[in-house]
């Protein structure tokens, strides 16, 4: 591939596609502040300023193949320092939206598909999820000071909805206990749900807005169907 011909051909810049984006890459002064402070700069060729230049030059085919695009955490430190206030995180996420879903590295797309289909990234049945939650609750109830502890599930009219982080369910179930115990000791009226219990949203990470909307909508449905008064922000 002749890369230099791509670079000098302004006709490749796809302005329509980026018209809806919050900032034009034209705004970039190429000062390099973003690249200087980004902890991911230089890893496998990642560099936030380079991303902006590639967008400006219309080199989208390369951006939707570049695995280093997934090294960015979208932490937005570069956005805070950018003298032109270009939202580089938004641009990275918008490029991720353009990726072929099947080519997304790791579990970010496949996990999202499982969450959409089964209600959770771990693809547990509602019954199995509930029995795992109850097993953790039983362990807490065996500790001094927590006698009679139970985990409220689908409790109508509860004061607080707690979403469950997928990572804790299978890999770190012991870490679920800390917050549950605090809620118990504070005499909180809380609940988790047996269906669609998660709060983390992988559609945010991989740029899939339609999926992200469905996941957020599930939380809205819980609040409405169970008449819960307050939502604890999941992340």
């Amino acid at each position: 591939m002749n890369k230099s011909s791509k670079i000098i051909d302004p006709g490749r810049s796809d302005r329509l596609r980026f018209a809806a984006w919050p900032h034009s890459p034209d705004d970039c002064l190429a000062c390099g502040l973003c690249s200087s402070l980004c902890p991911a700069s230089g890893i496998d060729g990642f560099d936030p300023r380079k991303v902006l230049r590639m967008v400006e030059l219309g080199r989208i085919e390369e951006l939707v193949e570049a695995r280093w695009l997934w090294l960015c955490t979208m932490c937005s430190k570069c956005v805070v320092y950018c003298p032109m206030q270009i939202n580089i995180s938004d641009i990275v996420r918008s490029i991720r939206t353009l990726w072929d879903r099947e080519k997304i590295p790791g579990d970010l797309h496949t996990g999202l598909v499982r969450a959409l289909k089964t209600g959770n990234v771990n693809a547990l049945s509602s019954q199995e999820f509930v029995s795992r939650m109850q097993a953790i609750a039983d362990e807490i109830a065996a500790e001094p000071g927590f006698e009679g502890f139970t985990v409220p599930i689908d409790k109508e009219g509860a004061n607080l909805l707690l979403t469950v982080h997928n990572k804790l369910v299978l890999r770190f179930p012991q870490d679920m206990k800390h917050l549950w115990k605090v809620l118990y000791l504070a005499n909180e009226d809380w609940t988790i749900t047996s269906e669609n219990p998660e709060g983390s949203n992988w559609g945010y990470f991989n740029g899939d807005d339609p999926a992200a909307k469905i996941l957020v909508g599930r939380i809205v449905d819980h609040m409405k169907n169970l008449k819960i008064k307050n939502l604890l922000w999941p992340e």
Partner: protein
């Protein structure tokens, strides 16, 4: 994401229920004396890390980052804690967010975290407290690589719980 998503796609729902963040909830419990943490539990030096989403990104998107609440809680649980530098809006990301923990790029993610680990080392902290599952997972995962196996990585609510008399 849930907060952005609600505002973007379901704004009317925000008029039908309230919302609260974990640090706000813990502050509320302590102020209402529903829980009473005591400072005598830990003597070693601790530090607090601002997660991108609770701090900088919340400030940029919603006008206010949750900087003060976690610090108010740290003050009520610990005699001895210090800030990381830089912090709050200018904090350095740990490298575990944005979905990176689910990618196969473990070596790259570990290298990304070097700046965070240097900060923690420079602060001399034995305990690292944060609010975010990704930050917690990342620092716990990479601390060995940086020779910091003994660093005690805690969720803020875990610290609060351990400071209660039960």
């Amino acid at each position: 994401m849930t907060r952005s998503g609600l505002r973007k796609w379901y704004p009317e729902s925000l008029r039908t229920f309230g919302t609260i963040s974990v640090p706000e909830l813990l502050v509320k419990y302590i102020k209402e004396e529903r829980i009473k943490p005591e400072k005598s539990r830990f003597q070693g030096l601790a530090t607090y890390h601002d997660p991108c989403n609770f701090g900088r990104k919340s400030e940029m998107e919603f006008g206010r980052g949750f900087y003060d609440e976690p610090r108010w809680i740290m003050d009520r649980c610990l005699e001895n804690w210090v800030e990381l530098y830089p912090n709050k809006k200018y904090q350095t990301c740990c490298g575990g967010g944005g979905g990176t923990l689910t990618t196969p790029y473990d070596r790259e993610r570990t290298f990304y975290g070097r700046k965070k680990m240097e900060q923690i080392r420079a602060a001399g902290a034995q305990m690292f407290v944060t609010l975010c599952h990704a930050c917690h997972g990342q620092v716990n995962d990479i601390k060995k690589t940086y020779g910091m196996e003994d660093l005690d990585v805690k969720y803020l609510w875990e610290l609060v719980l351990e400071c209660l008399q039960i």
